[in-house]
Symmetry: C2
């Protein structure tokens, strides 16, 4: 093990960056802003994918795959969307390399292989998908169309950070088409619910469900719903969005259907997505100065077994470890047995602590004799001796307990750091000294929102769906307001 | 249902193209050469993915993700590989669009946003991955490195065909690093074995395992192993490749390791991949003039239940269909119940025949009374009345039987169409009149291979791994040869 992580209290940002690298989750690549997702990080992402995919299918969605490239003329068809993404598009302009006449063994772009129309590497797929839906939808019988895609997308971000903001990232994007506005809105809300459920039950992350202000809306949407989570430094992180697109894309791509009454109408749309950004949320929400803390439901290994070898003959010990592994796996627990002789137990303890394995079991020859094993919990950093008998049942129950405990810790933090503020001075002071979700009154204008953002770097994260009616006055302009919105500085 | 498919005997190519579209597998997109994989096609691909992924993990591999883009300077580092792919590279040259000053609402590539170094959209990932491995490998303890990636790749093909040859396709690419040549060769052969097992047990497709000639080798490999399958028109299809890379990429990217003796050496590499091309193989190998024929192990729905409604009250019928569905699902069979009232049973029969669902169950009110159900097999186009009692057990056994039967049919065809030919005239005649795998003697030179290719369009598909020693004479030059190789015209 190389030197320890920076402490969260001293350098939260450095702590995060180092943790992502040291725990073998991801690293920067040779391509500006693009990351390599390493096997351990990818194994967590795979668990997220599998879980979400199952939830999408249970809610009636199917997967498909649409092209990586969007011809420029299609890309620009929905003007708001095009304008929103134009500044961060990677563009394919040529389709061939040729030998460089001046440098042996080197290649140059062949100027003769210029595309007639440039291709946008998809930053999101509404354009290419709605241009396809046009041919798939004629009648109300073809609706609803409930399709999801797992894909890579590219947004040319200037300032990037592993998982949180990268030029290329992995995500899923749902794109649905409906015959009524009401049904499309229901779908938008349903998928927001799926995201919230996933965040809470799997990521162990409490979220606020809400609606974005016009300023923060997805380009081309009528409404953007979101889930917002709170990180340990008091900054918010948008963990998923679900958009009600109205008929914008249907109009841009001329997607009409014959309704039950025989009349032609434009189709109503939604889109919704979560990305590898969730990896960043998972890491930042739960981990500590010793490393990752993973909720058991997403941990690639829920339990690691480490034999404490001593002397020459450890064959009985190894055999017992093997037997324990098999018993636990049979009970449905994912187990890694690290019997390598190239590393000492102490090194392994630190390694799996860093990697956030929820439970560590350590077995020595003396324990073997007394039919006990040392059980250490990653979330509480506590350890105890437990009997080998009934270990699987104990661990199954413990997985639930740990999952619940990690959620509770995050939820307590969120509750503690969700503060009602009524005047702008306190607002600014709170942001600097005790950051979190700030519930404040706002006059509802983009101008005030913008002013607050420019002066404090805080944005309106959302208007919570469950915000109670409460008469008050905008903390900046003093104009009347009828509910509080959520402000925070955000990732 | 629109009009019938072309017949295979009259227009094999037209039959394939129409089948892919009519069975809702894929379609051409607005992007030249790129396809949309539709939900039904994608569901089959997902089954392939899940199966292969499991097989890769069982053989010790883990997944990771590397960038979509490869900087040109990295791409050209391994010269053979770069030369091999240079002519079909999509190139990203700019990273921003801006408003077109001449056309309101339109966008143009911003000339001020030109990249200093162009990015190649990966046609394969050896370059970006080996440039990363350099930092991951120091010692023999870091080896072997056994990594797989599921990704999209782009090769700018001039003539494209759905699934068989598309500009963008989906695939997996394994990239492994080893401390000895022998271990790398073992890995290359092991993964070829995994592919062959997958083809035979899941795709129901018998294959020849072999080694490519130097002409047909992957650019940058020392040896390319392959599996070759035979389509119903007697053309071969390369269904998977596994490459022994020697130290080529290690040298190009300076990837060295300290061996057990403390000496520095270059790492040995392999790479191996299969793609959405397998969809083409699956379709072309088994389907008939009525539509798709899917092996049960890859069918999205193994059984479809169609209620034959009659009169006004079909509630008991629907209830029974539901009950059957649940019983079958409990037994592990995937079932679709199509109780839509918008389509007639006859339409549904044709639809699921076209879509290759292995078994169709049709239940009418009279059957209900006699506790029987009509069972139709897609592979044999036979039907019979069977008792409802014991239906799940019968169907479970039938799935195996159908899987075996589809394989046997393809295997019989392959056996029948694998012909030994000893003279060039017969060779040419056979290619035209009775095509298939032709086993012939060849003098081992690239010149003769090239001549045969130019004159007949047949290529050496592979030198079979199990080819017996047999003295003979090259059918073209009369020079001595000690084994037969496999020739065919190919996709």
């Amino acid at each position: 093990m190389s030197k320890a992580l920076p402490k969260r209290s001293e350098d939260y940002s450095g702590w995060y960056n180092e943790l992502v690298k040291k725990a073998d989750l991801a690293e920067n690549s040779a391509v500006r802003g693009c990351m390599v997702i390493k096997p351990y990080g990818y194994a967590i992402w795979e668990k997220m994918q599998q879980t979400l995919d199952k939830m999408f299918k249970e809610t009636g969605h199917v997967n498909a795959y649409f092209p990586l490239f969007v011809p420029k003329s299609l890309f620009e068809a929905e003007e708001q969307n095009a304008e929103g993404f134009a500044k961060e598009c990677a563009l394919v302009t040529h389709y061939r390399l040729k030998a460089d006449p001046d440098r042996k063994g080197k290649l140059i772009v062949d100027p003769d292989a210029k595309l007639e129309e440039e291709l946008v590497v998809r930053p999101t797929s509404e354009a290419i998908i709605w241009s396809t839906y046009k041919n798939w939808i004629q009648s109300y019988r073809d609706l609803p169309l409930l399709i999801n895609q797992w894909a890579n997308v590219v947004r040319w971000e200037m300032r990037t950070r592993l998982f949180l903001r990268t030029a290329e990232f992995l995500w899923q994007e749902g794109h649905t088409a409906h015959s009524t506005a009401q049904e499309a809105i229901q779908e938008t809300e349903k998928m927001l619910g799926v995201y919230a459920e996933f965040a809470e039950n799997f990521l162990a992350l409490p979220v606020i469900k809400g609606i974005k202000t016009a300023n923060e809306r997805f380009a081309g949407a009528l409404d953007t719903y979101c889930i917002e989570a709170l990180m340990q430094d008091g900054k918010a992180l948008q963990a998923g969005t679900s958009h009600f697109l109205g008929q914008n894309f249907a109009k841009a791509f001329d997607v009409k259907f014959t309704n039950k009454e025989g009349a032609l109408d434009y189709v109503w749309g939604t889109s919704w997505g979560v990305s590898t950004r969730l990896m960043g949320a998972l890491i930042m929400a739960h981990s500590d100065d010793n490393g990752l803390v993973l909720p058991p439901k997403l941990a690639p290994h829920q339990v690691v077994i480490i034999p404490i070898v001593f002397g020459d003959d450890n064959s009985a010990l190894f055999e017992k470890c093997d037997e324990i592994k098999k018993t636990l796996e049979k009970a449905g627990i994912s187990v890694k047995l690290d019997a390598r002789d190239t590393h000492k137990p102490g090194w392994k303890f630190a390694e799996y602590e860093l990697k956030g394995v929820p439970v560590r079991l350590a077995l020595g020859n003396r324990d073997l004799a007394s039919n006990q094993i040392e059980l250490a919990r990653r979330d509480t950093l506590t350890k105890e001796m437990v009997p080998l008998e009934g270990l699987a049942e104990r661990l199954l129950a413990l997985m639930d307990e740990i999952q619940t405990n990690i959620y509770k810790k995050a939820d307590d933090f969120k509750t503690k750091q969700t503060l009602k503020v009524d005047d702008y001075e306190t607002f600014k002071k709170t942001l600097d000294e005790n950051p979190g979700f700030i519930l404040a009154h706002w006059d509802g204008t983009p101008e005030t929102e913008e002013k607050i953002k420019n002066e404090t770097k805080a944005t309106i994260r959302c208007i919570p769906l469950d915000a109670p009616e409460e008469n008050g006055f905008c903390m900046v302009t003093g104009k009347p307001s009828n509910k509080r919105v959520v402000f925070a500085r955000a990732y």
